[in-house]
Symmetry: D2
């Protein structure tokens, strides 16, 4: 029996959470999802996550993943050990709090989710290529292993996909907030997409109002960005994985509008 | 009558040129293209362009666009004034040789093509937002105006799209070499896509063999990249523009395999 | 008669302001300063400046210069037109509020101060080389012209110094907060130093406590930095300029301890 | 008896080597050097090192250190195991060829030299803070341990100095090619300087002719840089270390002109 993994791209602010909660049950049943992963690094006003939002999203998901914005809200550092489903990138440093991977048991099947972060055009961190190699080797007995690779550069994402082909069930990109059209199953069985996109307002810049964003580029001064609320969409993908081998059988992009009645 | 603009993403090396030349006539006729633009910054071994390659590609295209790799081959600096269809980014500096825009007349219709480059995660250059504003204003009489925005960051690309909505017929992204799935016509009539993708080998990293690319990430040492040759594909898009108003009517992605008989 | 310009490097937080106010009169008289410039981009808790701090420092100085931290406090955007002595980098954008240069008259002598910012390893902005060329040309009648070049890369700073040699009286670097030992008068009469250093606590990292700074490097998580208070020093330089020609006659580094009685 | 370590900053091209060879014996005897370390990452035309240049410099030095330019010449990858005195940064990756530290025995005294590289504004690599912690711990029995920290950002360099204070005899910065005026012995006995500077032409940009360097900033096009030849100077420092404890007793900057008879 194939296992179906539903992976949702970065939820941005309240409009993103609203979109997610309005559509998630319908999406789960329409794709037949056995397991739900969602990236939450922008779920609180666009910057980080709080314990309250964690609790709000928790009933709908199995694992929440992170990225460079994981620590934007200070309270996460204190609360992270009470947020059992929350990941932060595995390769920040041996001294980072929280966890970089989670192994869950769903109807007798083990599913591992790893969150890693890129290094090109991003903050210094440990080598994701080497750490994920080690994860693959140490947890070879767990067949279904999904990576949320939160990274900027297409070069680094593609290189990681090829490097890990056959070692993970899926390498799914996040962080750029723009869905790419390159989803495929690589030759040795790893589902790959450079970026799954984001969940929230799609009439702005990465989920934020474009006025402030454009203003930065026009003036050279960084004003605070505000989450936008129109053209709400849920972005993500669904990966079908063979339970025995852990090989991906298919990957499909998801890009659904939320026809809010507001 | 709508005008159909065919825009082809970065041609990478000989495999890219081979793919382009094998498919271009068929694509042109199937989409009914009136005008062809192609990004050539990687056409010579993946790095830059030569006069010889310019001559090789010239019969098939109206305009060749560039990017951060425009100057990789020294000879371009000497030959650029003999390469009438070649653009380099308009916003490098007032002192850069060559031209940043071209205006062509096709059956009595003027079409302007501008090449601009981004600043986020890229080399310093002039402000593309301000320069393109000025282009839009000074050439308001030319209705059909297409921008090749060669940039890395999705934030900068989306912000530019929104900022220029209604001022250009299309803002088409290049440089990341990965096609995005966000093509649309913005509310005021500008066709937009974050990246059209690349033309050449799609079984590597940005058109280069993944072994050397992965090696860089594993060792921290930059060995020379080599263009790869398998899974050849032509990437781009076709934009339909209303001749009178210059507004885009539609934008469609193109991602075609080249079934080489090699 | 030579004019003596006293230039003080980035004041960091309250310890920096305390050091500055305690030493400034003594330094002015010991070097015979005719004119005082101070960089204030870190004067408010290490991040930006407020109107209150502007008023606190104003009696001691002729011009206050800025940098990438100029806008850290939101109120500056509203108050900047009431802060007559305050500069922000001239090359941010034509649309940035505030002014990038000031011309003052001291005993019948005009002195121009320009604040420019670098582009390498910094945020996108306009080309400082071209803008300063234009400043030099347009204000050729003003003999004494001082540049605070707020930049990261030694390459960009040295290149600017050589490029503008003979066009300005001095190119004085700020931003790295570490004083360099390369002060000299370049062949055509421009005083140059890569960085004048900073004013405040010298037992930390750029004027901030090293515990939090080190923690960032150990964990990959950015906790808030706090200004430190020990080993207080005033850093800067004094440039002697020939009034007639505007040529620098000498440049001397200043690095003075403040023996606080706390 | 104190041990005197002479450390020479990045030798740039042939003018740098000429300066170094002309002055080294005199400097050694005037400072009473027991041990000589020199950074050679720019010794071959400004980019990397060759086996021939290694042999040319070898008689004068105990250890040659590297940086981001270590691999600029391809032959180094093949020859590095025949270059016994040559270091490359220890924290590139476990898979980088060559060695990151050397332990030498001088008259019965063990001296360890480690080359590490920074991560801020540089290429991705392993965490220098953690790796140097581990070096300090594993080699606690070796009292005299010198670090060449090849890094761009003053923040990272200062943070490393404070973090390792008391664990190494000296943390000596390289890479910016501009000597800083902040040399000191930190409270727990580690000699520190942000950058020792460079050896070669001091009338250019980082040892290269300023015309080409300035041209890059004016045009946005990267022409090849050429090593310059005037105002030749040897930059470095001498650190006096207590043999028993490994604590630094003093650090003095060196900045000597080479009055060539050309
Ligand atoms: Fe995100
Ligand atoms: Fe992110
Ligand atoms: Fe390209
Ligand atoms: Fe490019
Ligand atoms: Fe500063
Ligand atoms: Fe600054
Ligand atoms: Fe160097
Ligand atoms: Fe270097």
């Amino acid at each position: 029996m194939p296992i179906r993994i539903l992976f949702i791209g970065d939820i941005v602010g309240k409009p993103g959470r609203r979109t997610f909660k309005a559509l998630i049950e319908e999406v789960k049943s329409s794709v037949g999802a056995d397991f739900v992963i969602v990236n939450v690094e922008n779920s609180a006003d666009g910057f980080g996550i709080t314990k309250k939002i964690y609790d709000e999203l928790s009933p709908y998901v199995d694992v929440m993943s992170g990225g460079n914005h994981s620590w934007d809200k200070d309270e996460v550092l204190k609360e992270i050990d009470n947020m059992d489903k929350l990941l932060r990138p595995i390769n920040l440093s041996v001294f980072a709090p929280g966890r970089g991977f989670i192994i869950k048991n769903i109807n007798g099947v083990s599913i591992m989710v790893v969150n890693a972060i890129g290094r090109v055009f991003m903050e210094p961190c440990d080598n994701p290529f080497l750490i994920l190699d080690e994860v693959a080797e140490r947890y070879a007995n767990i067949k279904i292993k999904i990576v949320d690779f939160h990274a900027e550069a297409t070069s680094e994402k593609e290189a990681l996909g090829w490097h890990l082909d056959g070692k993970f069930s899926a390498i799914l990109g996040t962080h750029t907030h723009v869905q790419t059209a390159d989803e495929r199953v690589l030759p040795k069985g790893t589902a790959y997409i450079t970026d799954v996109g984001m969940t929230g307002c799609h009439d702005g810049v990465l989920g934020f109002g474009y006025k402030e964003a454009v203003d930065r580029f026009l003036t050279g001064i960084k004003k605070r960005l505000k989450v936008c609320k129109t053209n709400l969409r849920l972005n993500g993908c669904v990966v079908e994985v063979d339970e025995e081998s852990g090989r991906a059988l298919s990957i499909k992009r998801i890009n659904l509008p939320y026809e809010s009645k507001t």
